[in-house]
């Protein structure tokens, strides 16, 4: 019948196919959704999605704290964190340990630039950013980030992030007054948008001071922060941050258990000075003899810590192409200062000239034992740069980077004069020098270390399975070279000039994944290898440049996270295998130096949860269980005979089994209040576990009121802070651990040292913005 002709069929199908795709797609825009970083649980927790154990505090938590608080105090509620402070203000410093690792085993950065001491990785938190300019502090407990610039981080890393300038003009003023003559005056100017709305900047200055709560002396700190952010075009930005700190503190005295048990909670350095001995030619004046039980060198004014530091960070971010970005971040750290103590120096000496001491007190003879001020001076110039190339497509996000740093670290130890009233003639140790036999400045140590690090790294984050699975693979390969130059000094084994260098190469992989079971629930896990190059003093030990292996640790995290409308929570189980722990020991030849003394195995659980505000109330809680066990015995020699101290199986030092914290927060309308409770469990101070300090609970309270804006004055706020609300007395920090306090066989014990907790401290803060 109807015979379809070929041509007709073809033309017909042409039309049909044409009609087929006339079925065009209409698109519906569902509108705009705003996503803002949110403060949960009083600012103590955010919903993380990292494959590593991670915690973070945000601005809201920082607002509840005293304006002088150091970063250690600000993070002390987070899981795994065992932080102490020498006083309530935080101006004098403190200690920190996480999963059994000490602060000098944890990497610290400020806006991406490393700030641990180049030589021995020490951290001085009171020298960093003003808390009013802090945006957040993040803690990666255990696994050091692959792109983090650290060579001394076996215990993870902590990042301090400064705020960006506001995009409106504002002058902010904060004034705090407290007990112990404490005050802090802070002022910050935000310029608002400049240069065609591309640039914003701020500049702030602050001055703070407080007396020590025991003994005499005080802390004095001047600080400047500045930041400029320039958005050149969408995706291209340059920012410059500058930090300058100048602080001088008197030290608190460390206490042994026996001293503490005598009952004088306020025990500290001597507050009176018995006067100097009159120099007389021909007779020996020995100022080391105590006067009425007081030792001249114990006078508080001779225990000083003056330090100046500056940090400049530049971050350039450039979008080279869609999905390809280049980050260039150079930085420069400068630090100069010392830690000084009163001491006695004997004139004369029979050794090589560099160990002899010329007349100190001007009486013409070299018979005296004179009161002097010994300063361990350190000067560091530390430029570095991190370059990263970031590329991503639908599945991969690859970062290829390189960190380069060349730190120039000069360490000396001059001994300088003390005036008649017992005060150092120069707290910086820059005049009235003791001279050695050659007429040069007498130095207890005099060396320079140039540490060069080249660390290439590559990381790939793969997003798979409908974006439910995020797989992270990363590797970094630090190549560290320490070049030491020893100039002749009076230090033991350091009388001669020598040069020495050591190289440490490591391959540090990290593999992890996060899997979203539902948008609210996720599980994560990672295995990361960390390392810590030996401190630079291992180049200058009497045995000279030991061949000591770097410490390494393998950290394994496995956890679960939950984030819903009401609650954000996280639980992490961890295991750490910490190898080649370095400690001081004596070998068969009687040479004392650092050795690898064995391994420590740590396992535990870190839990935290925070609620989102309901009727203004929010709660945060954290609980940590840590079981850190020393895996090896401590082998040492006494008079040539080997002693094996049975430390294997003992609890590792300064690691409490239990840590708990609860933060109750209220913020509604004009009132706000915050109440913190922290529990720290029992901690051992000797590796042999023959001394420990008991657990304690401490509470802090903060209440405030926001007044109505008055004309140009916005957000006037009055806040009242009380630390250690119930005025509890206890030993809170372990300053020096030892192998054994009581001794073992012929191996003599030595007493660990501590610091007691500051008593109740109250302060009032008033702040307002002018905009």
């Amino acid at each position: 019948m109807f015979k379809p002709r070929l041509l007709t069929v073809l033309i017909g199908s042409l039309i049909a196919s044409g009609v087929a795709f006339a079925d065009t797609v209409t698109t519906t825009n569902v509108g705009k959704i705003d996503v803002q970083g949110q403060a949960v649980g009083a600012g103590q927790i955010v919903a993380e999605d990292s494959d590593k154990a991670r915690s973070q505090i945000t601005r809201s938590a920082i607002d509840n704290a005293l304006p002088t608080e150091s970063p250690y105090q600000l993070i002390d509620m987070l899981p795994g964190v065992n932080a102490t402070s020498q006083d309530a203000t935080g101006l004098f410093g403190g200690t920190l340990s996480i999963r059994g690792f000490n602060s000098d085993q944890i990497g610290f950065t400020i806006d991406g630039a490393p700030v641990n001491d180049s030589g021995n990785y020490a951290v001085y938190p009171q020298e960093y950013v003003d808390s009013e300019n802090l945006e957040q502090i993040f803690v990666t407990q255990g696994s050091t980030d692959t792109d983090a610039p650290h060579i001394g981080a076996t215990g993870g890393n902590i990042g301090i992030v400064s705020s960006n300038p506001k995009d409106y003009f504002r002058i902010k003023g904060v004034q705090t007054f407290g007990q112990l003559n404490m005050y802090k005056t802070f002022a910050r100017l935000d310029t608002g948008k400049l240069f065609n709305d591309t640039t914003t900047a701020y500049f702030s200055v602050s001055k703070s001071a407080a007396d020590k709560w025991r003994g005499d002396g005080k802390a004095d700190r001047t600080h400047i922060d500045a930041k400029i952010v320039s958005k050149l075009s969408p995706g291209n930005q340059v920012s410059l941050g500058i930090l300058y700190n100048d602080a001088t503190n008197n030290f608190f005295k460390r206490v042994t258990k026996s001293q503490y048990d005598k009952g004088d909670y306020n025990y500290d350095y001597a507050t009176t000075f018995p006067g100097r001995l009159t120099p007389v030619n021909g007779t020996a004046q020995d100022e080391s003899k105590t006067v009425n039980g007081v030792s001249r060198s114990d006078y508080y004014a001779l225990q000083v810590n003056p330090f100046r530091n500056a940090l400049v960070t530049l971050n350039g971010s450039f979008q080279l192409a869609n999905n390809l970005r280049l980050d260039i971040s150079p930085y420069y750290w400068y630090g100069y200062g010392n830690g000084s103590f009163g001491t006695y120096l004997k004139e004369g000496g029979t050794g090589v000239p560099v160990t002899q001491v010329r007349d100190l007190n001007g009486d013409g003879d070299t018979l005296d034992n004179v009161l002097m001020y010994r300063s361990s001076v350190t000067k560091t110039h530390r430029p570095g740069i991190t370059t990263k190339l970031n590329w991503q497509n639908d599945v991969h996000k690859v970062v290829l980077g390189l960190w380069y740093e060349r730190a120039d670290h000069k360490q000396t130890q001059p001994v300088t004069g003390v005036d008649a009233s017992g005060h150092p003639i120069s707290i910086w140790g820059e005049s009235a020098y003791a001279l050695d036999g050659n007429g040069n400045i007498y130095q207890g140590r005099n060396y320079q270390t140039i540490t060069t690090v080249v660390q290439p790294f590559i990381m790939d984050t793969m997003t798979l399975a409908d974006d439910r699975l995020k797989l992270n693979v990363g590797i970094r390969m630090p190549h560290t070279t320490r070049q030491g130059t020893n100039y002749p000094s009076a230090g033991r084994g350091l009388n001669n000039y020598y040069e020495v260098s050591r190289t440490y190469n490591e391959v540090l992989p990290s593999v992890g994944a996060t899997y979203f079971l539902t948008p609210e629930q996720s599980i994560f896990g990672n295995v990361t290898k960390n390392f810590r190059a030996p401190a630079n003093y291992t180049l200058f030990d009497p045995g000279r440049a030991e061949d000591i292996l770097p410490e390494t640790s393998t950290n394994i995290d496995l956890g679960y996270r939950y984030d819903s409308k009401f609650v954000t929570a996280s639980a992490t189980a961890f295991y750490v295998n910490y190898k080649n722990r370095q400690a001081y020991a004596i070998d068969e030849n009687g040479i004392g130096q650092n050795y690898n003394v064995g391994n420590v195995h740590t396992k535990g659980l870190e839990l935290e949860a925070g609620t989102k505000p309901i009727n203004g109330f929010s709660v945060y809680g954290s609980l940590t269980y840590t079981d850190a066990v020393t895996a090896s015995d401590y082998v040492t020699y006494v008079s040539g005979k080997q002693i094996v101290v049975p430390t294997s199986g003992k609890h590792y030092v300064n690691t409490p089994k239990w840590l708990a914290a609860v933060d109750l927060n209220y913020q509604q309308g004009r009132f706000f209040g915050n109440f913190k409770t922290r529990y720290t469990g029992l901690r051992y101070s000797t590796v042999l576990n023959d001394e420990s300090i008991p657990g304690y609970i401490t509470n802090d309270l903060s209440v405030g009121y926001k007044f109505a804006d008055a004309g140009y004055f916005k957000n006037p706020t009055l806040r009242f802070n009380v630390s250690n609300l119930f005025d509890r007395k206890y030993l809170n920090s372990i300053e020096g651990t030892t192998v054994t306090a009581l001794g073992y066989q012929t191996y003599k014990g030595s007493a660990p040292t501590y610091m007691p907790a500051a008593p109740r401290f109250a302060s009032v803060t008033f702040s307002a913005d002018f905009q």
Binding site: K32, Q36, V46, R54, V161, P519, D563
Partner: protein, 284 residues
């Protein structure tokens, strides 16, 4: 055919073969064209994934992408459609939408509707008549006017002369008119659900890079959902110039479990494409 004996016999044979398949050869160009068209159709989707459908974009939540209202849209003054309310209950929801120059929805037709409006009153009747032919149901013209007429009305006034024919062809898509109001409401409620799901799953990125760079910006994500609410495909329509935010936004969309389409929404469509603007700002 009679070829002179003198010509090459091989050549002749070839010619003869060609002649035998002459009809196939004639169809060859069309066949090639068809193949190209089919191949081309495969790529059409990609083209569309570029900011293809701009016409709808800028409208915000206002819902009701469909102009089913067309009934009312015409200059309000044209009250004649009083019988409207009688017809379909769903009509009512429509009015609120009025404010929208709904040019949006019916991609194809809408182009010219506006100009014709003034003449409406006059053409009103014309329209009705026009309607009559394509719609067998349209007998009770004055009434149907209520809904249907308006919809068709718009394209109609545009080209009175030919349109009837075109309309006959075009009416197909217009046929489901009685439903537009139902679908509009259903679609609006679905959009609200999509928004609620995204609001529940939205998160500012965290991690080392987010902490150190504190990115901000708006990223527009497109996603194609099927009737079960599953994300069939998604991508970045407009970047925020921050790779981390683009990635975070895409993950938020892909991990979300959207509700299935309500029965009345986007009738006949197996999938529907949505876009959403996610604006990220660090904590203040």
């Amino acid at each position: 055919m009679h070829w002179p004996q003198s010509l090459n016999s091989g050549f002749i044979k070839m010619i003869e073969r060609i002649f035998k398949i002459r009809e196939w050869l004639a169809g060859l160009p069309a066949l090639i064209a068809l193949i190209f068209v089919i191949l081309g159709a495969q790529t059409i989707k990609v083209l569309e994934s570029k900011p293809a459908a701009p016409q709808i974009m800028q409208l915000s939540m206002v819902s009701l992408p469909e102009p089913p209202k067309p009934i009312e849209p015409p200059p309000e003054p044209i009250v004649p459609p009083t019988p409207e309310p009688v017809e379909p209950p769903p009509v009512t929801p429509a009015p609120p939408v009025l404010p929208e120059p709904d040019t949006a929805a019916p991609v194809v037709e809408i182009k010219k509707p506006t100009p014709p409006e003034p003449p409406k009153p006059v053409e009103h009747k014309k329209i009705v008549e026009h309607k009559a032919p394509p719609k067998p149901v349209a007998k009770p013209e004055p009434k149907p006017e209520a809904k249907e007429p308006p919809a068709k009305a718009e394209p109609a006034p545009v080209a009175p002369p030919k349109p009837p024919v075109a309309e006959q062809v075009a009416p197909k898509p217009i046929a489901p008119e009685p439903k537009p109001n139902l679908s509009a409401a259903a679609e609006a409620s679905y959009i609200a659900k999509v928004r609620a799901d995204l609001e529940a799953n939205k998160r500012y990125p965290t991690g080392r890079e987010a902490s150190l760079t504190q990115p901000s910006g708006t990223v527009r994500i497109w996603m194609t959902l099927n009737r079960q609410g599953e994300v069939v495909d998604s991508g970045i329509e407009q970047t925020s110039h921050a790779m981390l935010l683009d990635r975070t936004a895409l993950s938020t969309v892909r991990r979300s479990n959207f509700a299935p389409f309500p029965a009345d929404s986007w009738p006949g469509a197996a999938t529907h494409r949505f876009t959403v603007d996610l604006n990220y700002q660090p904590a203040q």
